[in-house]
């Protein structure tokens, strides 16, 4: 992982973080990894600003689940979202992103959230609930009415595009 991480790090040094908050990030931020960049800035960076899941991404990768990120969080995020990251790791974090209420299961409510975010509320409530039902039907391996991490990973295995789409280019 070292290679990709340091590659990211260099990238990071050149642009992203400093563009976000030139006043906020000290020049030698390498030595103070505890400076946090607030979610407002993270969410407005070009890679994320139009992503429907930007808030979730920031929350999942921040220390406290509030979206404020340190340098390390930031690097973690891009290492997971990079091309090199292994499938299971990506699946794990995707699961966390889709698990809106952080209860370690994707339940119907989480699914509804996901669908509304994905479709910008274009589907009617009935359609949304039908979609959720279908998804649970398809992916819920142990029939407990919600998706566990295993269910999710199992389903992701069948979606080969996942690897290339769960990826943020920098």
């Amino acid at each position: 992982a070292a290679g990709s991480i340091s590659g990211l790090y260099v990238l990071h040094k050149e642009g992203d973080h400093e563009d976000l908050a030139p006043q906020l990030i000290p020049l030698d931020y390498t030595s103070c990894p505890d400076v946090k960049v607030p979610y407002e800035l993270i969410g407005s960076m070009p890679e994320l600003k139009d992503n429907p899941f930007r808030q979730r991404i920031a929350q999942v990768f921040s220390d406290d689940g509030d979206g404020h990120m340190t340098l390390n969080n930031f690097l973690d995020m891009f290492s997971v979202m990079s091309e090199m990251a292994p499938r299971d790791l990506k699946a794990y974090y995707a699961f966390k992103i889709y698990d809106f209420n952080n209860d370690d299961y994707i339940c119907a409510w989480d699914l509804e959230q996901t669908v509304t975010k994905l479709t910008r509320g274009e589907l009617s409530a009935e359609e949304v609930s039908l979609v959720c039902e279908k998804v649970l039907d398809e992916a819920d391996g142990d029939h407990d009415g919600r998706l566990s991490l295993e269910d999710f990973q199992n389903m992701i295995l069948r979606a080969p595009d996942f690897l290339s789409t769960f990826h943020i280019r920098i």
């Binding site: 000290p26 103070c32 990894p33 505890d34 406290d64 689940g65």
Partner: protein
């Protein structure tokens, strides 16, 4: 864990205005007498002295840590009697003050609440040892302390205070209190303290400390990295367990804490000095100021430091952004209470230990992979690797004598890994068109991107082939260049004939002699070089194709059973690469239509087509196939006769432009017929869009490959046998023209055709709208061109170079056209599956066809008599035969002859090899079949387990219900715990659960 949580909850509360307010009040009234003792001015004089230490030392790595650490009193005994002496050492001025100061901290809980009649003056020294040793005396008190809210402010206070010296004296708190939670949690707080030190001394940035020293700033606690192992040596057991009933434990912790603390003193004092005033106040009771003061504190600290690094920090609070981050989370409180923190120490937990144990025996590569697979933060991974390496080195120490050889290999492999990593890093930094890819991905998503990816991949392929050919064929030939007598007009660029005929571009120009410079120089046999270079190039292409194909297959066809309708896939495969605002909106819209379509399909699933409809549909499909095949065959026949006629025509007329007729016609066919094919969908109406794409692909590839096939037949059977002078060069020229014409056509298509289409779609026929990028057709064009290049590489070694240039230009042309004329695809495209399919197509009809053609050329055809490296030989392959014959005469090379005779030239060997490969394939096939059954069984088992789980949960609920009915009070506590946990989870800060918590503690304690 419930206790732990509760504690967290409790810790949360100082955030609340009321809480801190009350705290303030309490403290204020309880320690009024301390006011004079604590003030900053008194402490100031000595702080600078400590401060000077690291600075004068010249190195920011704080050389004074070891110093204070080394002081015999500190680590050895946390007892107070020692401390003053140390104090005196470092802070010469305030030995007087220190006990008082102590007291100011201690008092709120010790003096006041415990009602222990310790005389305030002596409090500093004698009590602590006593209380520490005296574990039983604490017990009753501890309960009360714990229950009392006022204890806590003090905790905070002591933490919030810049000088840990005093807090240190608190080390005995855990002991005397004997309360589980306290000791455990305090421990954590101390962590924070000690972590500051490690941080600082590893980073060595005093300025940084200023910011870090906020106990409230979440990083301390939230940060998962306890980089210094020393500090948490004894932690594993502390963390995981919820309670420490015995005071002895507390004692231990006290000890280790002291260690941590001692190390903490110098830095803290040194850096905090300017802001100490604030803090001092805080300890006196202005705790409410905590939040608001922070930014200020940072500012003051860093300003006061007058250090070169100062500038960033003042900026930070000024920005106003930091404040939410710092204040909003308010410090140790939340971060402390967060599960990530307890997770952060995960590798000390049993699970983590197990993981470490499992990692140790692995090879370094597997280990790296396994660690990379862990869903942890980078710091944690780094720590994990460090821990594992440490463990490993510990183990290997024991075995070192036995296997220094293995060590050697290990270090070599590590070095190799490192160099490989750095190499890949360098390569990735050179990766072509990174920015453009990002833009394309952002606007059009992964599916369109896959086309450009494929293009780039082919470009790399061609660059490689070009480098190999250029260095091993062209450069040697250039060293004995003859003068080119042909005239250059410019038309040659299109025809490839004329002037170019006598250049390194074509086969005919190469010599068959052995190149030797100087009498003693090494000789270079051009014949062998030519055949081997081309051969090696093709072999490498073969393997890289094979491996990338295998990789794609592995990634994309892991699971044998694929759902027919993947609505889940639609939902969970949002394309994160798309970043353009409009593209995102469009994608969301497309996705919702697709979901709707999918739903309607599900709803109408049972609606069956009537027999009549089925018949018409079937006949439409058949007609489609018949027509498309007919068109393809007709095209082939036309091309064949045209080629034959054209050669007749060229013999009589010597117009140099006439040679362009055949490539023009072929390119026209390639342009028109695929569009005709895609019109078929209006008639055929496939149910699944995927089927439509696949069928279109199959038809197109059939057309293109059969055209190339017929051309190959024409070249090998007619041109090669026609007795023409230098027929290899003629074929090379023909391929060059085809390639060039194809390139011109695609350029014209992207700039004219697609542009016109956009104008029509926008201006004239509005309901056509913007077109979508046809990935399949474009990829097939690439495959077609690449096939031509591979065939031509033998006749025209510089063809990869030409293809390189055309691909390079094509990339920009397509990119511009895409940005101008297209809209993102509306259907979710299975991009990665398509990539697999494309590479498979590139491998199967295209590359294997090329291999066959070249094999026939080399084994069956007679090279032309007067030109080229193989002139005068009966077959191309005879160059190898004669080489083997010469080797036979040299005794040193007999092994080459042996290999040739027994492996390459032997039929038996290939027969046996084929048999073995077939057997292995069969075995693997059987294994896969077995695994499929296994997967099915396991799947069933998962379902059963789920049912079991649901059943058990139901049963448990029922049981609980009955129990509750029977004993309504018994479960009250439990419910409370749940209630306390949940608001904490959601991060709400309200005082109510805290009250409840106190009650529950009171209830709890009598029980214990």
């Amino acid at each position: 864990m419930s206790a732990h949580y509760r504690y967290n909850r409790y810790k949360d509360d100082p955030d609340d205005p009321d809480y801190s307010g009350s705290q303030h009040r309490m403290q204020g009234y309880s320690i009024t007498q301390d006011h004079p003792n604590v003030p900053a001015p008194m402490n100031n004089p000595d702080y600078p002295s400590t401060k000077r230490n690291p600075y004068s030392g010249g190195s920011r790595t704080s050389p004074d840590y070891p110093a204070s650490f080394a002081e015999p009193d500190y680590p050895g005994s946390p007892d107070n009697p020692d401390r003053p002496s140390t104090r005196n050492n470092s802070f010469s001025a305030i030995s007087r003050i220190s006990p008082d100061y102590h007291r100011s901290l201690q008092e709120p809980d010790y003096m006041e609440f415990q009602r222990n009649p310790y005389p305030p003056g002596s409090s500093g020294q004698p009590d602590y040892p006593r209380s520490q040793k005296n574990s039983d005396f604490t017990y009753s008190r501890s309960t009360r302390n714990y229950a009392d809210s006022r204890t806590h402010p003090d905790y905070f206070g002591s933490l919030g205070e810049p000088d840990y010296l005093e807090t240190q004296s608190n080390t005995n708190h855990p002991g005397p209190r004997g309360n589980s939670n306290h000791s455990g949690s305090r421990r954590n707080l101390q962590y924070a303290g000690s972590r500051i030190n490690t941080r600082t001394d590893s980073l060595g940035d005093p300025d940084y400390l200023g910011a870090k020293n906020q106990p409230n700033s979440p990083h301390f606690f939230g940060e998962p990295d306890y980089s210094d192992a020393e500090d948490y040596q004894n932690s594993p057991d502390i963390w995981g367990e919820p309670d420490y009933p015995d005071a002895e434990n507390g004692h231990d912790y006290g000890f280790s804490e002291t260690l941590g603390m001692t190390r903490g003193i110098p830095t803290r004092t040194s850096s905090i000095q300017p802001s100490f005033h604030h803090r001092g106040n805080g300890s006196l009771g202005i705790l409410r100021g905590e939040n608001e003061d922070y930014p200020e504190n940072i500012e003051m600290t860093s300003m006061g430091m007058a250090h070169s690094h100062r500038h960033p920090l003042p900026g930070a609070p000024g920005k106003g952004y930091v404040n939410p981050a710092y204040v909003g989370e308010s410090g140790p409180v939340r971060a402390y209470g967060n599960p990530p923190l307890s997770e952060s120490d995960w590798h000390k937990s049993p699970h983590g230990q197990k993981l470490i144990a499992s990692l140790i025996p692995m090879t370094s590569r597997d280990r790296i992979k396994a660690i990379r697979n862990q869903p942890r933060t980078m710091e944690e991974k780094r720590n994990l690797r460090k821990t594992v390496d440490k463990e490993k080195s510990k183990q290997s120490h024991r075995r070192r004598e036995l296997n220094c050889c293995a060590q050697c290999i290990n270090s070599i492999s590590q070095a190799y890994q490192k160099s490989k990593n750095s190499l890949s890093e360098i390569l990735s930094s050179f990766s072509l068109w990174q920015k453009r890819f990002k833009v394309i991905g952002g606007k059009f998503g992964t599916s369109v991107l896959s086309y450009f990816n494929f293009l780039r991949w082919l470009l790399k392929f061609n660059i490689f082939s070009f480098i190999v050919n250029f260095s091993f064929i062209v450069i040697p030939q250039l060293t004995l260049a003859e003068k080119n007598t042909l005239q250059f007009t410019g038309l040659e660029f299109f025809t490839g004939a004329g002037y170019f005929r006598d250049t390194v571009m074509y086969y005919g120009f190469y010599t068959n002699s052995t190149i030797r410079h100087g009498a003693s120089g090494a000789s270079y046999n051009m014949q062998l070089a030519y055949i081997f270079t081309i051969g090696v190039c093709l072999v490498i292409c073969f393997f890289s194709l094979l491996f990338s194909m295998a990789k794609y297959f592995r990634n994309n066809f892991i699971n044998p059973h694929i759902y027919s309708r993947g609505i889940a896939k639609l939902i969970f495969c949002w394309d994160f690469t798309v970043t353009h605002e409009n593209a995102v909106k469009l994608k969301q819209k497309n996705l919702s239509t697709e979901i709707r379509e999918n739903l309607s399909e599900i709803r109408q699933e049972n609606v069956k087509l009537t027999l009549n409809q089925q018949l018409t549909r079937f006949s439409a499909h058949v007609a489609g196939w018949v027509v498309s095949t007919g068109v393809a065959v007709a095209c082939c026949v036309a091309v064949y006769y045209l080629a034959e006629y054209n050669s007749e025509f060229l013999r009589t007329h010597r117009n140099p432009g006439a040679v362009l007729l055949l490539p023009f016609v072929v390119s026209c066919i390639n342009l028109v017929v695929p569009r005709l094919y895609s019109m078929f969908r209006l008639v055929e109406r496939y149910e699944m869009p995927r089927h439509e794409v696949y069928i279109l692909l199959i038809r197109n590839i059939f057309l293109k490959i059969s055209i190339i096939g017929i051309l190959c037949y024409y070249w090998l059977n007619i041109v090669a046998l026609s007795g023409e002078e230098c027929w290899e060069t003629l074929i090379g020229q023909e391929i060059y023209r085809l390639l060039l014409m194809d390139f011109v056509f695609s350029l014209a298509d992207s700039f004219l055709g697609e542009f016109l289409r956009r104008i029509i779609g926008m201006k004239f026929i509005a309901n056509l709208g913007l077109q979508e990028f046809d990935i399949a057709r474009n990829v097939l064009e690439l495959i077609y061109a690449q096939t031509l290049v591979w065939i031509g590489i033998f006749f025209c070694p510089l063809l990869p170079f030409i293809q390189m240039i055309t691909l390079f230009i094509m990339f920009y042309a397509k990119n511009i056209s895409l940005m101008m004329n297209f809209q993102p695809p509306s259907k979710a495209w299975r991009a990665s599956q398509m990539m697999t399919f494309f590479i498979f197509l590139l491998f199967f009809p295209s590359f294997t066809g090329v291999l066959c053609t070249l094999a026939i050329t080399i084994w069956r055809l007679k090279p032309s008599v007067d030109c080229g490296p193989f002139r005068g030989l009966p077959f191309f392959i005879h160059s190898i035969y004669s080489w083997i014959d010469t080797l036979r005469k040299r005794p040193g090379y007999l092994w080459v002859v042996w290999i040739y005779q027994n492996l390459i030239g032997s039929v038996h060997f290939f027969f046996i090899l084929t048999l073995i490969v077939l057997i292995i394939t069969y075995l693997y096939w059987q294994i896969t079949e077995g695994r499929k059954i296994m997967i099915r069984l396991l799947h069933e088992q998962i379902i059963n387990e789920g049912k079991d789980k649901m059943f058990l949960i139901e049963k448990l609920m029922k049981l609980q219900d009955t129990e509750k009915r029977a004993n309504p009070s018994g479960l009250v506590l439990e419910r409370r715990e749940v209630e306390q946990q949940s608001p904490w989870h959601l991060g709400e800060h309200d005082a109510v659960p805290e009250l409840r918590f106190r009650q529950s503690v009171q209830e709890d304690n009598p029980r214990t």
